[in-house]
């Protein structure tokens, strides 16, 4: 039987002996997959790096697949500086949060879209924070934890003049202090101009992601903090 060709991104790789790598891959149908690949495919020398769209064939019945063939499908996203750290952050989020063997069609598109957005930021025509926040909130939706940016936990429309607390599995609950309704509506409408809205989105995403990530902090955040 002829193995099918799949689009894929490498999220992470680790060396295996002298001439092989164990890849963490993201594929639309199979989701997050581990696979062994030879560094050289015949005479072809491939840059087996993240942020490069690939087409590949997988074989094997166990959890650890083997890459039968792999080819570049398009030019790589060449990131630098903070944009590169952000790309690494997306990869870490997916590796930490996306369950094994769960189909990831939407996530794959979302990831690809975010890389394109990051490329725009790299070229100076976009902003980093909205790009990261939109990925985080969309990832939460894919993980079955969608955020309702229109209504509070009781089904009332969010009020621009009120403040809200985020309650796990319930949603926004009106409170004396917390996230300003105005900013939450801004986030829902993709209005990122205000620095306060961006700060609010960052705090909120950290709060919602924290229980999913457990006690081990995201290591890629350390890249942004130093330097």
């Amino acid at each position: 039987m002829h193995a099918e060709l799949w689009p894929a991104f490498i999220l992470h790789s680790r060396p295996l002996g002298e001439d092989k790598l164990i890849l963490q891959l993201l594929l639309p149908e199979q989701g997050r997959v581990s696979a062994v690949v030879r560094k050289r495919q015949g005479k072809q020398r491939l840059a087996l790096q993240p942020f490069q769209p690939f087409m590949l064939q997988l074989s094997g019945r166990t959890e650890l697949k083997t890459v039968k063939s792999i080819d570049e499908a398009a030019a790589a996203f060449l990131f630098s500086g903070k944009v590169l750290y952000s790309g690494i952050y997306l990869n870490e989020l997916i590796c930490r949060l996306w369950p094994d063997n769960l189909a990831a069609e939407q996530l794959f598109n979302l990831y690809q879209h975010s890389l394109q957005q990051l490329m725009l930021v790299q070229q100076g025509s976009g902003e980093l924070e909205p790009c990261l926040r939109e990925f985080e909130f969309a990832l939460l939706t894919e993980l079955g934890q969608p955020i309702d940016w229109q209504q509070d936990a009781d089904g009332n429309p969010l009020n621009t003049a009120w403040c809200y607390q985020w309650q796990h599995e319930q949603g926004f609950v009106a409170a004396a202090n917390g996230f300003a309704g105005m900013h939450l509506l801004n986030i829902g409408n993709g209005q990122w101009q205000s620095a306060d809205t961006r700060r609010c989105a960052k705090q909120l995403s950290r709060q919602i992601l924290a229980p999913l990530l457990g006690s081990k902090p995201l290591a890629s955040r350390a890249l942004f903090e130093g330097g």
């Binding site: 005479k43 630098s80 350390a222 330097g227």
Partner: protein, 200 residues
Amino acid sequence: MSRYTPLVQQLIDALRILPGVGPKSAQRMAFSLLERNREAGLQLGTALSAAMTKVGHCQQCRTFCETALCHICTDPARALDGIICVVGSAADQLAIEQTGQFKGRYFVLQGYLSPLDGIGPQDLGLDKLSTLLAAGGITELILATNPTVEGDATAFYIAELCHKHQVSVSRIAQGIPVGGELEFVDGTTLSHAFSGRKVF
């Protein structure tokens, strides 16, 4: 039940920690030493335990050495131009030394920033590098990190440190390997080769 006697099992398990050595290779090595090379085996044991206890890191550049400072860091001639080259590993440092091109000093990271492997700035002694840059006397820092995502991230992180301490920073060129064929080179390397082309 183990197929081996306890000591043989222990030896095989110990050999398996070496990179690229699986159970079969470890068994072959163990039997080979026991069958006909006991003397060399004892030497291996002595060399291993001496190196593991006595080889440390150079206090300045972090490469492996048994003294406080390595032979490069103690050589005054290598500090003359104030250039420091940052490499990922002692093996990379050796490869550059063999070219005879570089006459300055090194800083050996012993790894790269890799959040997914849990390797952060502290693990690479970047605080030490920062102190070194702050101390002055360094005119240029050359980044010779691998052209991988981790190598790139590390390079950008160090470049920011250099900017902070106002030290000029450069990165070694990326392009087509000597003896390579364009047709078989990956797209990213080709685009680097194009953007980094030189007047000829």
